[in-house]
């Protein structure tokens, strides 16, 4: 059952990155859209994510519940040493979710919309940035459980060039996912072209940020290159992602939407696979060379087995309903546009 739980943990992190990431990305795209096109982008975004954003957000809850029920030592260590970035991420989540609801459900449309919009776009940018920083700090080996002073224990545990680079990389990936997704959500030819262009820009940015991550890792003394290419799975996954990138660029120019989404999702999945595979089953690397491992630092056997059953049972209800939700709104959005 432990492996079932681990698979669910990985899958919910992946789905949060893909679906929640595209959600955040939509806000980032809006942030970097010129004033004159912003309203149209906003409308497309709303149609695309309005019905599903609450559900997209749930993957984070699932991941966190799996962590605190199944792997309490990992959850509480991260909670203590990454308190500050977690808090910033939470404020981002609050700001973003409420601003999204406010701007669409406020009965009066006036200048307040500008306030909601600004909060929505900036929090869409800040939240994945800190999500990336948190992910980066988990593997950067800077969490020092012996640290005595405030800076070492609670600031430098998460703040360095490497984690910041990972943060920007995550943000760029979110923007890329959103842009690719939005191409298929509009029938307006100008908007389509705009989203294709956004997809290209954000893809270049993501590759550039990826390069920054490697550079920062080199200067911070983190053997990232070795981690990624030093094992077969990582090397194959990253090569497959790169090769699919070429195909993606070719198809982007033709604007084929369905297959583009699959390719973008594939690339992000491969990246997550690569970065998690090398350390598996370790999830947090500590400054003293220790680690927190999924196979060693889990809850009692009975906890894991009931958690596993709860997850299996839950997915019987959730997955078909979620699939039908996404399916029907895509279909209906498309149909509505066609008339």
């Amino acid at each position: 059952m432990l492996y079932v739980v681990i698979v669910y943990l990985w899958a919910s992190i992946l789905l949060y990155l893909l679906l929640g990431g595209a959600d955040f990305g939509a806000g980032i795209i809006e942030l970097f859209t010129s004033e004159k096109n912003r309203n149209r982008t906003r409308k497309t975004t709303y149609q695309a994510i309005g019905p599903i954003w609450e559900a997209n957000h749930m993957w984070l809850i699932i991941a966190i519940v799996i962590l605190f029920v199944g792997f309490p030592a990992i959850y509480s260590t991260m909670s203590v040493y990454l308190h500050i970035p977690l808090t910033i991420m939470l404020i981002g989540i609050i700001a973003r979710g409420t601003a999204f609801a406010f701007r669409h459900h406020d009965a009066v449309v006036d200048d307040w919309q500008n306030v909601y919009n600004r909060i929505f776009t900036w929090s869409s940018f800040v939240t994945p940035l800190f999500l990336g920083i948190i992910a980066g700090s988990a593997v950067s080996g800077r969490i020092d459980t012996q640290a005595v002073n405030f800076l070492d224990a609670y600031i430098f545990s998460w703040l360095d060039w490497f984690t910041v680079a990972v943060g920007f990389f995550t943000t760029a990936i979110c923007a890329f996912l959103a842009a690719v997704y939005l191409i298929g959500e509009t029938d307006n030819e100008t908007d389509r072209k705009r989203f294709i262009h956004k997809a290209q820009t954000s893809n270049i940015l993501a590759v550039f940020c990826g390069f920054l991550v490697f550079t920062a890792a080199y200067f911070e003394g983190i053997p990232l290159f070795q981690w990624v290419f030093g094992n077969l799975v990582g090397a194959v996954a990253i090569t497959a992602a790169t090769l699919s990138l070429i195909l993606l660029w070719y198809l982007l120019r033709q604007g084929k939407t369905k297959i583009l989404r699959v390719l973008a999702g594939f690339q992000v999945t491969m990246i997550l696979l690569t970065v998690t595979w090398q350390h598996y089953p370790n999830i947090v690397l500590l400054a003293d060379g220790g680690y927190l491992s999924l196979t060693e630092h889990h809850g009692h056997a009975k906890t894991i087995s009931s958690l596993g059953w709860a997850l299996l049972l839950g997915s019987i209800f959730i997955l078909p309903a979620l699939f039908y939700l996404i399916y029907s709104f895509q279909q209906k959005n498309g149909a509505k546009e066609a008339h």
């Binding site: 309490p72 959850y75 509480s76 260590t77 909670s79 308190h83 989540i93 609050i94 009965a107 959730i318």
Partner: protein, 444 residues
């Protein structure tokens, strides 16, 4: 402000904020389902408009409730890592099931809010009902997790170690039923009176009377039925607390001395130093009866409990008095409303009855907040009753006060914006929802 107090304040603030939104998100869908049902059955547009107007409120409250709930699930670790390290694997079962319920709620809400004119009418209605049911289930599960903190079960605590863990037994701890029942009914009372009060105010002002009268009726009936049932669940809770947490009961009642035929103390100012209550009205034997169903039974006082395990008496006592007092007022109002419905139809059009409901608008939520204060403050100094002290669970990170100020700022501004938006929503009823059928039948 030291870190421990700051952490407790932040947790109290977050919970106090979340609870309002989650109650509304849990209960409003049922009101919606009723008016939606009327619309499908009778084709009276006013019911469709009521459903839509309410659904806007639900969308806003759900979003706010969902994010504040997310914050809470992180705050458990951010503020009480030592607690979560041990408790997570034991009391986590309801949380993992709650994840499913909440997920379904989010999916169903997507269908409901965006599904007008897109699906079969009854399927659409059903998705709205699912929002309510799954919301209710997730509420019950979260309360079951809290109940475990009051009534730890499903493990053996031996020499500081948590052994023989059984998450299912932990979930079905002794307190889960009474707490979940009391909270669920409270959610209906609070939301019902809040919604009914807002509509009553609009009727009293003579605005969109048809729309508000029908809305009022649905909310008021829910509220009043729940308010009449609530004392029964309160009685179950009181007996349960007396048995499991005598210290909490003693603090609720400011009952300092163990004695037989203990009186129920109404009001009063507890003096914790001299262990007396000033200016209170004692009802002889009533506490013994309430706690043990026998007027002469012995009720444990705070003197039977070591000093360092006393909960703060004054806060717990005041909060309990407020909760019970408001509960009684709402129950009385409910009886008056039922009389009006059955015997005295003329009362229904009278100003005074409406004004009573306007006055009752915040009562339910004040009672809910007071009730949670009793539950949480009354459990102190324990975070896991009898096993782990709250002070031993707090995060080692210094400077929590700043985090508390930050979250206070965030929650205060959110509360202000939401209130402001509801005000605008109500102001716009004229334009958006109170449309005659032939004017704009396709309005949505």
């Amino acid at each position: 402000m030291n870190d421990f107090i700051a952490a407790r304040s932040q947790m109290a603030l977050s919970l106090g904020f979340h609870i309002v939104f989650s109650c509304i998100g849990m209960v409003m869908p049922f009101f919606m389902a009723v008016s939606h049902f009327y619309w499908l059955k009778t084709n009276q547009v006013v019911y469709k408009n009521i459903t839509k107007a309410w659904s806007k409120g639900v969308a806003i409250f759900f979003a706010t409730g969902a994010v504040s709930g997310t914050v809470l699930s992180f705050e458990l670790g951010l503020l009480w890592p030592e607690f979560m390290k041990h408790a997570g694997p034991i009391f986590g079962m309801p949380f993992s099931l709650e994840g499913t319920a909440f997920f379904i709620e989010a999916i169903a809400l997507g269908f409901f809010l965006y599904g007008w004119n897109r699906f079969n009418r009854w399927f659409h209605w059903f998705t709205g009902l699912v929002v309510g049911i799954s919301g209710l289930v997730s509420g019950i599960l979260v309360v079951a997790a809290n109940a475990w903190m009051n009534s730890p079960a499903g493990f053996d605590y031996v020499n500081g170690q948590y052994l023989n863990i059984d998450p299912i037994a932990a979930m079905f701890n002794d307190a889960w039923f009474s707490q979940a029942l009391h909270m669920t009914v409270a959610a209906f009372v609070a939301t019902g009176f809040a919604v009914a009060g807002v509509h009553a105010l609009m009727i009293a002002k003579g605005k969109n009377v048809e729309f508000h009268t029908r809305s009022f009726r649905i909310a008021a009936i829910f509220a009043c039925v729940a308010a009449v049932l609530q004392p029964l669940s309160g009685d179950i809770s009181a007996k349960d607390v007396a048995r499991r947490q005598p210290a909490k009961l003693a603090a609720m009642e400011a009952h300092f001395e163990t004695r037989k035929s203990a009186p129920l103390i109404l009001g009063g100012i507890p003096d914790e130093k001299n262990k007396t209550v000033k200016y209170a009205i004692p009802l002889p034997g009533m506490l013994s009866f309430m706690a043990h169903g026998d007027f002469s039974a012995e009720v444990k006082g705070l003197d039977a409990i070591p000093e360092d395990e006393h909960p703060p008496v004054a806060i717990t006592h005041y909060a309990f008095q407020i909760m019970v007092g408001l509960g009684m007022v709402m129950m009385l109002l409910s009886f008056i409303y039922f009389i009006a419905l059955w015997k005295k139809k003329s009362w229904l059009r009278s100003k005074w009855l409406l004004n009573f409901f306007v006055l009752a608008t915040p009562m339910g939520f004040i009672a809910v907040e007071a009730g949670w204060t009793v539950t949480e403050v009354g459990r102190q100094p324990w975070i896991i009753h009898g096993v782990m002290r709250t002070a031993d669970a707090v995060t080692p990170m210094p400077g929590i006060a700043y985090s508390f100020y930050l979250f206070t700022g965030v929650y205060v501004s959110l509360a202000l914006i939401v209130t402001f938006m509801l005000y605008r929503q109500i102001q716009m009823v004229d334009k958006l929802y109170d449309v005659l059928p032939n004017e704009n039948p396709e309005k949505h």
